[in-house]
Amino acid sequence: MSAALDLRRVGHAYFGQSVLKGIDLTIAPGEVVALVGPSGSGKSTIAQIAAGLTEPREGRIARSYTRHAMVFQEPRLLPWATARQNIRFALRRSGLPRREWEERVAGAAALAEFDAADLGKYPVELSGGMRQRVAIARALVVEPDFVFFDEPFTALDVALKRRMQDLVIAASRAARFAALFITHDVTEAIRIAHRIAVLDLRGQGIAGTRSLPGEPGTREENFCFILRQRYLAEDPLFRHIHDVDERRRP
């Protein structure tokens, strides 16, 4: 089976300064890969390049999925449109027949556990968590077979974060989409992914990957916690994960 997404020797530079070099990453259909790395290592840039928002300076990208969607760190909702119109915005260019839109919007809102009674509200009337639910519904409504998550839950509090993670796990199991999940939270990566890829401290390639046992959603909390401790304490791959060098950020 061919890969859903294949990055080969991808590199990028901002203003002549190389931020990414020699990135090789392959994601199989239905596989959720969490990409972790320290702050400022270029994780988000990889997501942008993989999703086609940024043209890489070098390298090759092969996409064999049919339709992608993205959930950003901020909800990025249109402030002048209601939740319903925001979700519908993704459908406009999807080629799906218009008469199915209403039904699909309702379905996606239910998947994202967004109350149908709030669909007529504007983003300003919604809480941060509800806005992110709308953003997730907007991504799921086009029934993508590949979803990019760019640190989607960083701004949420711990309890809400956990519920959102469960929601993504359930959605990925139900819809069988492949995903590239960018995060700097190792626990989040362990809960959500089939495989963890660790980005090099300076963006000079993928330092290594770790396959996680079992399916996401079936792992016990305790197991996730112990695995996290082991990764951070013993695994050299994760040694620099909490290093922060703000000056290097583009």
């Binding site: 086609g52 969607a69 950003f72 002048w80 260019r93 983003p123």
Partner: protein, 271 residues
């Protein structure tokens, strides 16, 4: 669906009319100050406000004066339409292309530096004393404010929304139409209202100096005859005409586009 639409509009209209009380209070204050001035300095300097209103009312009912009002109103609107179109088009181009912005900025400074009165003189010599002169002077005086706000609005747009739209398959035109233009609308409306006010003021001034009829011409005649109540009555009518156009044309449009801002306001402080 239709019932909800009508209910929503009716709700907003009632809110708007209710907010009119504040406006009425402000106008009553102005009228009181006017009356006090009239009693202090006498009818020649400042005529009785009631007499002025009555004169204005008589004028508004006479067909001749209505024709004068229509003439000035049409000229101001034509000039405003030109200025709005030019300002928005060049402004959007400048917002997307920094090179256009850099070229347009100094030109604007030069244009703004020339006093409007000089433009009137020049336009009179170029086009003669007619409506074209008025429209051209409005175009020159009202375009910069629209241009600057359109350019700023596009240049400072939320690029995150553009990226989002691109992910979901929207091309250049889709992003412009559905995302950037809607974002630019918010700062653009106050600028358009300002441009409309400028259009009316400049229209009256240009008419007076170019002797091109309209309200400006009527004002010139009132001045020649030292008829202060009539002059003030014309001023009153010009202001009313501006208010009618602004609240009949620009504000409803703005209300439609900015419906979501109202939703953000808690109960009791809706303005």
């Amino acid at each position: 669906m239709v019932a909800a639409f009508i209910r929503d509009r009716a709700d907003r209209l009632l809110h708007f009319l209710w907010s009119g009380w504040a406006g009425v209070a402000a106008l009553a204050l102005l009228a009181a100050a006017w009356q006090a001035g009239h009693e202090r300095w006498g009818g020649f300097i400042l005529p009785d406000p009631l007499v002025t209103v009555r004169t204005a009312w008589t004028l508004a009912l006479s067909p001749d004066a209505q024709a004068v009002l229509w003439l000035t109103g049409a000229r101001a609107l034509a000039g405003f339409a030109l200025a709005a179109a030019a300002g928005v088009l060049i402004g959007i181009a400048a917002g997307y292309a920094p090179a256009v912005m850099r070229l347009a900025r100094p030109l604007l400074t030069v244009i703004l530096g020339v006093p409007p009165i000089a433009w009137i003189v020049l336009a009179m010599m170029w086009f003669g004393t007619n409506g074209t002169t008025v429209a051209v002077v409005i175009l020159i005086s009202a375009t910069p404010v629209v241009f600057v706000s359109a350019a700023e609005a596009i240049a400072t747009r939320d690029r995150g929304l553009d990226d989002m739209a691109e992910v979901f398959g929207h091309g250049l035109f889709g992003r412009f139409w559905h995302v950037d233009l809607r974002q630019a609308a918010a700062p653009l409306f106050p600028a358009l209202a300002l441009a409309l006010g400028t259009a009316f003021k400049v229209a009256v001034m240009a008419e007076m100096l170019a002797n091109a009829g309209g309200i400006g011409g009527a004002l010139a005649r009132a001045r020649a005859m030292l008829d202060v109540p009539e002059a003030l009555a014309w001023v009153l009518l010009a202001v009313v005409a501006l208010l009618v156009v602004e609240y009949g044309l620009i504000r409803p449009f703005q209300g439609e586009v900015e419906r979501w801002r109202r939703a953000a306001q808690p109960w009791g402080v809706k303005r």
